[in-house]
Subunit: 314 residues, 2 copies
Amino acid sequence: MASLFLPALGRMAVCGGTHGNELSGVYLVQEMERQRKEKGDGVWPIPVTTVLSNPRAVEECRRYIDTDMNRCFSTATLSSPMTDSSPYEVQHAQELNNLLGLKGSADAIDMICDLHNTTSNMGLTLIHYSTSDWVTMHICKYLQTKITKVPVRVLVMDVPISDAYSLESVSKHGFSIEVGPQPHGVVRADIYLIMKEAVDMTIDWIHKFNSGTVFEGGDMEAFKFIKSIDYPRDPETRTLTAAIHPQLQDRDFCLLKRGDPLFLSFSGETVTYEEEGSLHPFFINECAYYEKGIAFHLAKKLTLTIPTVQVKKD
Amino acid sequence: MASLFLPALGRMAVCGGTHGNELSGVYLVQEMERQRKEKGDGVWPIPVTTVLSNPRAVEECRRYIDTDMNRCFSTATLSSPMTDSSPYEVQHAQELNNLLGLKGSADAIDMICDLHNTTSNMGLTLIHYSTSDWVTMHICKYLQTKITKVPVRVLVMDVPISDAYSLESVSKHGFSIEVGPQPHGVVRADIYLIMKEAVDMTIDWIHKFNSGTVFEGGDMEAFKFIKSIDYPRDPETRTLTAAIHPQLQDRDFCLLKRGDPLFLSFSGETVTYEEEGSLHPFFINECAYYEKGIAFHLAKKLTLTIPTVQVKKD
């Protein structure tokens, strides 16, 4: 197969603590900073910028201070005028855009790998915005061959990049990594080690790519976000009347068919899936999504044909 | 074996939301209140008072507003003078003591069952303060025969009742129920159902006891709190340098022997258990204990001989 020639990836950032209580990323970024201090800038085979994205939220071990920072990186929010009453996260998002962007410009950093945890049983999921970012797809494919302890999947949000609101959208080929299940405010060694392996292997892929390695294309599975489903709620008080059904809990990316159980009410009744099309639920029972009115998202499975890629020589 | 005759248990309270982000108890108390509204006061075979213990923390889905309420029920704190600047939880603890106590008095409620969740893999654990509260021991024994999905254990804190600081210490035979693992801020149906079964079976036991059923004694296993162990920390910044070791994570109540792994540092080194005596760790990697400087507690296993009990007739 003919190769697609792509530019080398010059600058990469690894970001943790965009949500201050998702601790694997916080401790991994701090460990990388310790390693750089101990071994010097040559500790990785490519230049890596490390960023603790929301330091005040990390300090307080909260998701955010004023507003969810990972919704602050749309072009509109990044260019909104600042006042003293602007939310802390909006102010800090603009500072990160100055450090790593400017978003959408030729100067934007090549790659942001933004580290997240979820209470959902998502294994290792790479999330990004386009069905045709071959760099991200190849990195996912590479991680699938290297990481065997949990499933590795790619999820595409399919939002125009100017509307894309999360930190990695500032870079040319960014993605976020979700690793779970891990309670927020807790660090589990097993989840930390999976995240560390994913970051190490991403750096490894970029180094190999920049050094001229040819990465073969082929067919690849991806999931595309379709829509969100809320919990059943009391119509007056808006309080939850049901939890995720035990048969659905922890089964992220399973295939939902008509009649499958979705929720179990606190009084014991089962609510079933009644839509026509079969879809794949993910972010099932994610802690941070209760306040957003999301019990889980639904995705459609796609098969993408990705090209063979290698670096463009000057 | 000769029976010990004990007074009937006239009043019982089921409390949830003492920690506002431990959601099984919150939803279970709300469901019990809904059932009472639907079916009337005779819904249970004994009188049950239901209490949402920390309503402001529940509203904000936080552990507490000003201070951990489950440390506010010592005799000293309950009798401390109130001012406008007293912590919300201390004020509200005094109100609950008026409703359910007074602690230590003849008027105190017979039983408080206080509902908690933990991120630790504790199964169902009954926690209370004395190695000779035969009512609690018999309820635990009864739950052990009825609940088969998770281990049921009893843990004794062995603190004098006036120093005992948690809500259930207000009652004559109180205990708290810890069910886990469940992330704080999340409700899992499987954990909710275990908690519901435990409360239903406790009510069932009290009804049978009050009705004259004889409960046979015998030998019983219990765990007694010995001491707490903190995470390894950077001596200057006090930040964690290690997580619970994967071989210890989720193994609450296992037997720790010299040389067993305790922690895995973020740079990859293992820290082992080096004490002489073999003990049992519990509350391993509990989210809320990071700020308290506790990675896990250690307990000693006891075998208690409990007497046969039956109700004292007037």
